[in-house]
Amino acid sequence: MNILRETAGYLPGLQAGDVAWQTLGFEAHGRKLEVAVPCLTDTQATALMDRVRAASRCYLKSLTVAEIVTTIDKAIARLLDPADPWRQKADTLLPLVTGYDAEMVRLGLTGYLKTFRRPQLQRFLVEDFGNPQLLDDFAPRAKGGFSKAFGADVAVHVWAGNVPGLCLWSLISGLLVKSGTVGKVASAEPLMAGWMAQLLVEVDEQLADCLAVVWWEGGNAAQEKVFFSHAELVLAYGGTTALAQVRQHVPVTTRFLPYGHKLSFGLVARTALDVRKALKTVQQAAYDVVRYDQQGCYSPHVFYVERGGRISPDEFARYLAHELSAFEKKYPRRNLALAEAAALAEWRQTEEISNLAGTRGTDVADIAGDGTWTVVYNSNLQPLAPGALNRTVRVVAVDQLADVIPLLAPHRAFLQTVGVAAAPRELFELAEQMGRAGVTRICALGQMTSPEAGWHHDGRFSLLDLVQMVDIESSAEAAAETLAPYVD
């Protein structure tokens, strides 16, 4: 088997020969890939941070946000072009790195990239700023005075793995607010960010020093301290333990934005379960499960299905099983490492054995699937809890969707997306209650893994959170008037 090789990262000002490299091995779909990731010394790391800060001050801050949007739009157009060498590289190598089915990666990437074209970016900016001019100039405020939004000179982004290209989200957000960015890629997907940085520099070579993409072994306290001590802002994606550890190394005076792991689920009202609509509803639910094998924060773990429709909840579960088995043929689940497979097997065994033990009382439970996917059905209300991921989903029958609301309270910190199939009035009633419980995103089934451009990630402002507002109060303006040379 010939081994493919690729170099990760983007290190302006550093020669490849002066940097130590470590190799990460990947194997999937019968091919091997070795990725060289950079290991910087403290001196190199400091030099890199200084370089990005300087370039961000002199160049990035001199651009208008419209110019930046144009540059990103051009780069995204390149990635949307199937003939472009960068896109071809992504289509070839990302399936090897992540293990996901190549077609699933290709479709997912295209859908995702489309949210970064000019119109979507403009919407994204208006969503957060109202008037994006705030990023270019002191703009008049309705209350009086003027304000301008300043991005950090340099921000460090610590990215998570397995949904390919996830890092583009924060990389592009940083650019839009004219912030220099040093991003740390995850060992699970070390490539996309470096490619994007190089592509942006191809589009506008003066961006060369405004970005860097680095790597260090997760948990390397010394490296984290060096990078974080030179940053004005640190963004990190990861699990609670990883985030807690990252936070320890962020200086108290540096702003820290953590994006933790999330728990998402679906609600299916009886109105979505008539004979005509049910099939579509189930297909959409299955699609949300299959996309990225439930590794996304927005991926559903449980579907609560209302009784009283023409299709009963247990029929819904059987349909879902059928759809998942069809998807397995179209987009096979990635191969699991032994530990992942063992964890999934243990989860399935626990379900299987508790059925045999008859400890479920009146609950009628069923388990279907061959290990590449699993559907567990429960006739009694079950608490919201994560499944074993990798296409394992629980279907729970409920008398009313409102019965689910009391189950949410304990998980406030983890709630994110809810895929809802319900009539308008019910949608808004449920939205109010779920919002109170801590849910931050409600979408249609089938769209759970594709957030809209300009969405509020974890209920926050993706761009607004990255800037510092500077106000010129009306008093300053009034006082200045008295000092003008032309004052009478």
């Binding site: 996830l166 699990g239 609670t240 996304g296 924060c297 530990a339 399935r348 045999l356 994560p386």
Partner: protein
């Protein structure tokens, strides 16, 4: 088959000299038929897997029951209350449900243990050895299979002066020093047997005092069970290096036993001079390395989950799916530890993190 002829047949099989593959298979299928008929949770488990007496033609096809099932199901061919002894898994918390293994009689367990122990730890010799046991006795832990195993070792293979070094007050330091010094002076071989973590406590004690010994030839050590958070964690290599250094015996005389409450037979290595050591069992237990989700046997040399078919497990289930990772090699298997949950790759909440948050 009624119970007593079945047990008689088993004793004969244990005593047999190199029985054929076919004999193993026949014995396994006879036990499968017995368990399928009398152990109803197991029957339901088989039916759920689509396995019946008709379809299972080889011991390899007997459905392997996950060890976690011993917690939720009563896997026994007799009413649990009629068991001579019930061994329970050691839970780390009070709340934790314990796995139960019911033995209608301990005769088979004891026969299995004695034959195997004599061969592997006593090196086939009938000459008894002075033993110190680093584990509580059976009166303190009546439901511990390890306590019973060690009590049996002491009673059957220990000299009359053999003794327990662990009391309700903890490690008996005074007696330990006396025994080690005595062995060194008299040249009488001495054997220390117990839980791996107790040996770490012993090392901490002796190293703290700056003491070391040179045990006479014929002395040996048997440890089992790993550290389980009951002592400091150290690598296996460090563990045996320190054990050999502090007690003054070769690492080839430090034998590790791999057993579990849910089995009636143990595995041993032939010392730990080189790592990883190869574990193997007697002719009445066979091990498969399987892919955890499909249960399909993996080719030799590939990592998988261990499944054991133990013919001494006549009352529960012969074939168990463990949570241990291993590789099949010539002469046995390498034990690579528990299948640890891999670090979450995406940003979807994983069960482990969820549970941590729930208990925080």
């Amino acid at each position: 088959m009624a119970l007593s002829p079945l047990i008689a047949e088993l004793h004969a099989f244990l005593a047999a000299d190199h029985p054929s593959d076919d004999a193993f298979n026949q014995q396994a299928l006879a036990l499968f038929a017995h368990q399928y008929q009398h152990n109803l949770p197991f029957q339901r488990f088989c039916q759920q897997r689509g396995k019946t007496l008709r379809t299972v033609k080889s011991w390899r096809n007997i459905p392997a029951v996950p060890i976690s099932a011993f917690k939720a199901l009563s896997l026994s061919c007799i009413p649990a209350a009629d068991a001579e002894r019930t061994f329970m898994t050691s839970g780390t918390t009070q709340k934790e449900v314990k796995g139960k293994h019911h033995h209608p009689t301990l005769a088979v367990y004891n026969d299995s243990m004695r034959r195997n122990f004599r061969h592997r730890f006593m090196q086939g010799s009938d000459r008894k050895i002075r033993m110190g046991i680093l584990f509580p006795d059976e009166t303190m832990l009546p439901n511990s299979s390890l306590a019973h195993y060690l009590a049996l070792a002491l009673r059957e293979f220990g000299t009359p002066d053999s003794h327990y070094l662990l009391t309700e007050a903890g490690l008996d330091h005074t007696r330990l020093h006396v025994e080690l010094a005595r062995a060194q002076q008299t040249g009488e071989p001495y054997a220390l047997l117990g839980a791996s973590y107790s040996f770490v406590h012993l090392l901490d004690e002796l190293q703290g005092l700056g003491k070391s010994f040179t045990l006479p030839p014929g002395s040996r050590v048997l440890d089992t069970g790993g550290f389980k958070g009951q002592s400091r964690e150290l690598s296996i290599d460090e563990f045996y290096a320190q054990l050999a250094g502090t007690l003054g015996l070769g690492r080839e005389h430090c034998i590790n036993m791999y057993g579990m409450t849910e089995l009636s037979t143990q595995f041993y290595d032939a010392g730990n001079a080189t790592l990883p050591s190869v574990k193997s069992g007697p002719h009445w237990i066979r091990t498969l390395v399987v892919e955890p989700l499909s249960g399909v046997e993996l080719p030799r040399g590939e990592q998988g989950i261990l499944a054991h078919c133990d013919l001494a497990n006549f009352n529960s289930v012969t074939t168990l799916l463990t949570e241990d990772v291993g590789i099949a090699v010539n002469g046995g298997f390498l034990l690579l530890g528990r299948a640890q949950g891999s670090a979450a790759k995406g940003c979807s909440l994983a069960v482990e993190e969820f549970l941590q948050a729930a208990t925080a």
